[in-house]
């Protein structure tokens, strides 16, 4: 299956690419930078395709991704993993409209537009497909400083649910994976004490494992999940 993965350069996105390649899929990875980790992944692996795209430019992202040299209609897309995200960490009384808009471009507007064209590709090829959005537990539990970020993930979850309702009859499924706090670059600004406090709020008393998130995404993309759509799947070490 041909699968588009955004935010492929590090963390969960990189792990998702590795997992999907291991399963024998062709992966079309997109991120701003072609990191050393990605270069290593691409070496000698003709099933991995990479394109550097600024997902903060919502108007241009579609043309860059669904272009003749990357994913034209002649590449039938079976899956789309919307993983790229930007964190805006601040308290509500400090909201800056510019930063808010920049985050919504990456976290909401570009994903919606890429979903539009992913579904168009799926319609063209009449093969159906599976869309997986990566959300965040912050949309459900609430954390100080994450109100804006969490709101963007809440928007994605609602978008996914409605996409599932709208396109189910055409064989397009849409689900969300809701990871708990992982030990990735995205949470690197947190101190050990803050992290431990967060982990204490989980049933397993530890960080969510990136590999577990990636495996869940791979499962939702696969035919094994053919009766699952419109769902949010928490992979969060049992966050309470």
């Amino acid at each position: 299956m041909n699968i588009l993965v955004t935010g492929a350069s590090k963390g969960v996105g990189l792990e998702i690419c590795k997992t999907l390649l291991r399963e024998g899929h062709a992966v079309y990875g997109v991120s701003r930078t072609f990191t050393d980790d990605l270069k290593k992944l691409a070496e000698g692996n003709c099933a991995f395709h990479f394109k550097s795209v600024d997902l903060g430019d919502s108007a241009a992202a579609k043309d860059a991704v669904f272009s003749a040299d990357f994913i034209p209609n002649s590449v039938p897309l079976g899956g789309f993993v919307n993983n790229a995200a930007q964190v805006y960490d601040d308290i509500v009384t400090n909201i800056s409209l510019d930063r808010l808009k920049a985050m919504y471009d990456v976290n909401v507007f570009t994903p919606m537009l890429l979903t539009k064209y992913a579904i168009r590709n799926m319609i063209f090829n009449r093969g159906g497909g599976s869309i997986v959005h990566i959300s965040s537990i912050s949309a459900h539990t609430g954390y100080k400083g994450l109100a804006m970020y969490a709101s963007s993930k809440g928007a994605l979850e609602a978008f996914s649910k409605n996409t599932a309702r709208e396109w189910g009859e055409k064989g397009v499924r849409s689900n969300v994976v809701v990871p708990g706090f992982m030990d990735t670059a995205m949470s690197s600004t947190l101190s050990d004490e803050q992290k431990n406090r967060i982990y204490k709020r989980t049933s397993l008393k530890k960080a969510t494992e990136v590999e577990s998130v990636a495996e869940t995404v791979a499962f939702l993309l696969s035919d094994k999940a053919r009766s699952i759509t419109g769902q949010n799947i928490n992979v969060d070490a049992g966050t309470i």
């Binding site: 209609n73 168009r120 319609i123 063209f124 009449r126 009859e169 055409k170």
Partner: protein
Amino acid sequence: MEKLESIIRLIQDNKGAPSRAPIAAETRFREDLGFDSFDLAEFTVHVEDAFGVDVFEGGVVETVGEVKKKLKI
């Protein structure tokens, strides 16, 4: 027009309602051809692939003639 007509025929075939009734500029997608929003989406995708123009992007298009005008054919 030949290419456009072949796309319309493709959508009609795909929706299980094959027809070879004549298509004119005045032909309306919904009322005359019975296209629903999914059929129109499929039509748009094929037109964009063939002509490089997203005919529904600027708003609602109701007739074949309006599409021809947007495609300049």
